[in-house]
Amino acid sequence: MPEITRDEVAHLATLARIDLDDAELDHLAPQLSVILESVASISGVAGDDVPPTSHAVPLTNVFRDDVVVPGLTPEQALSGAPERSGGRFAVPRILGDEQ
């Protein structure tokens, strides 16, 4: 059943924010097709009346007491930053050329 094309993989890589070069696309596309083919076997296994499960042991309304507890200090939060500027994370420009 489902065939995943090289172009589709390139599109998905864009959605997932990963640069893939030509060699990686050539390698990944057929592998993903094989995997998809094998997982496609589940289509039709469960009817419309079967509810989905999103968590193994469902819990509802999990709250904690509304009291302030210590979090990370600014220094701790910034300790792994690739680049910082004073007490802030420094990031590349956010807007693209066309914006």
């Binding site: 924010r17 995997i35 094998s38 997982v39 509810p51 989905p52 193994a56």
Partner: protein, 507 residues
């Protein structure tokens, strides 16, 4: 002397410390020496903290001298899988994207180890972000199986399993998303437990698939796993999926099981987890183990779980979907690697993110992110992710029906013994099949244990026996696991690991 120290079980080490016949510093130093001697060949560790571990050991000895020990295992050293945040110690998840990252906080389970007084020897190797069944997907090179250095130690927690199998640590923490504690246990002749989902805190565990991930013990004996499980388990307000119910008496269950009486226990053999593709030697050890359970008074019946045949496909849709979402946080902005794209003047944040994720993630991680992105994309969502979530419900129904008939379910832990390094590295589907028997428990959240069942006749390599119990009944896997372990150890005339080959560098 050193050899006599490190070959003791963790429970025996705790007894020795209590009796004053050894010290935590001596124990910790013996394990650090062992790591120095054998880990060049095994490569179970990504980071060793000799100085920190010895300081923690000295503090444990001081506490003991003052009569202020903090837990049964106070002073017994431990290794921690590199997917758990450790304040002050590097945490890489086996990935280049986190190379050199030192977390500013401890995972709850790590905080509980420190509160219990266990010196942390170091961080163990793993498949990148726990994606794999062989530890070959580590960005820092594979771990080697102590039984045969040319073979895989299982995965993703091959480092933790190989560390305890090579006597480089008496205890280790692992994580199990689709079998990453139990399958490495099976192929290295060690014990591993996946607790009930929510039974052990996930706070500070770098998520692969958060609705499956569970932290658990990696040890050489069932009792040692029970001791460690009781230390790390229980409710944590920092994990909203943590179950607010007291743990059953796990140590008591292990001790009871070791007594060898299983009368009144009903055991179900899962029909769907056998047949073509299952190695004859693995099946032979499994059948013998079932016979031993019968000999101890258990009643054994065959049970069918028809939707288990769809478990692998279900898992390989839901897990990549969750992983693709969880790994979106590696955006090169707040922590971890940042790579600037080549030949781009003034790159945007998105350009940097794309270049960083290409350079920082390995092949398997990219495969699963793309697959997960596909399964979640509009037009495919209902056919893949939605359908998989429904099949997940059916698998839970199968467990429910089975546990109406029996107290525990059993199967071999993995279909084969350890294969050669490199053999399945570029064949994802063949690699995924290793998790056939372990995945149903993750889909449904039930607890499972793997205990060594012996050596397969074909290759002389370890095989594993899996016991599964209903959610929250973790004590049952300890009772049955300990009973089988006692019967097999008696039959063998000693622990299975006594038959492992001598490692280079060993005295």
């Amino acid at each position: 002397m050193t050899d006599a120290l490190i070959r003791r079980t963790a429970a025996e080490m705790a007894d020795d410390l209590a009796a004053g016949t050894t010290t935590s510093v001596a124990l910790t130093r013996a394990h650090l020496d062992r790591i120095a001697a054998v880990d060049g060949a095994v490569h179970a560790f990504l980071h060793v903290d000799a100085e920190g571990a010895l300081a923690q050991a000295a503090a444990a000895d001081e506490r003991r001298a003052e009569g202020a020990t903090r837990s049964t295992l106070d002073g017994v050293p431990i290794a921690v899988k590199d997917v758990l945040a450790t304040e002050g110690l590097p945490t890489t998840c086996g990935s280049k994207i986190l190379e050199g990252w030192v977390p500013p906080y401890d995972a709850t389970v790590v905080a509980r180890l420190r509160a219990g007084g266990l010196p942390i020897l170091g961080k163990t190797n793993m498949d990148e972000f726990a994606m794999g069944s062989s530890t070959e997907h580590s960005a820092y090179g594979p771990t080697h199986n102590p039984w045969d250095l040319d073979r895989i130690p299982g995965g993703s927690g091959g480092g933790s399993a190989a560390a305890v199998a090579s006597f480089a640590a008496p205890l280790a923490l692992g994580t199990d998303t689709g079998g990453s504690i139990r399958q490495p246990g099976a192929v290295t002749g060690t014990v591993g437990v996946k607790p009930t989902y929510g039974g052990v805190s996930r706070y500070g565990l770098v998520a692969l698939a958060n609705s499956f991930d569970q932290v658990g013990p990696v040890t050489r004996t069932v009792l040692d796993s029970a001791l460690l499980h009781e230390l790390i388990g229980g409710h944590d307000a920092r994990d909203s999926t943590s179950i607010d119910v007291a743990l059953p008496d796990l140590v008591g269950a292990a001790r009871q099981g070791a007594g060898g009486d299983l009368s009144g226990l009903k055991v179900g053999v899962i029909r769907e987890l056998a047949g073509d593709g299952w190695q004859p030697g693995v099946m032979a050890r499994f059948t013998e183990s079932v016979d031993l359970l019968v000999g101890m008074g258990a009643e054994v019946v065959e049970v069918s779980c028809p939707t288990f045949v769809h478990a692998l496909a279900t898992y390989y849709l839901i897990m990549p979907a969750e992983a693709s979402s969880n790994l979106a946080k590696f955006d090169a902005m707040r922590f971890g690697l940042r790579v600037l794209p080549e030949g781009v003047d003034s790159p945007s944040a998105e350009d940097v993110m794309r270049a960083t994720r290409d350079a920082g993630f390995g092949d398997e991680v990219k495969r699963r992110i793309i697959l997960g992105t596909y399964a979640l994309s509009s037009g495919y969502y209902d056919a893949y992710y939605g359908q998989a979530q429904k099949v997940r419900t059916l698998i839970t129904h199968d467990f429910g029906a089975a546990f109406q008939q029996v107290d525990v379910l059993v199967s071999p832990t993995a279909p084969t013994t350890a294969f050669k390094l490199g053999e399945k590295l570029d064949d994802p589907l063949a690699m995924y099949l290793n998790d056939l028997a372990t995945i149903p428990a993750n889909l449904s959240g039930v607890p499972g244990i793997s205990v060594p069942s012996g050596l397969a006749d074909e290759d002389g390599l370890p095989a594993g026996f899996q016991v599964l119990a209903p959610a929250l009944a973790d004590d049952r896997v300890y009772r049955v696991g300990a009973a089988l372990e006692a019967a097999l150890t008696d039959k063998w005339g000693g622990p299975l690991l006594d038959r492992a080959p001598v490692l280079e560098g060993e005295r």
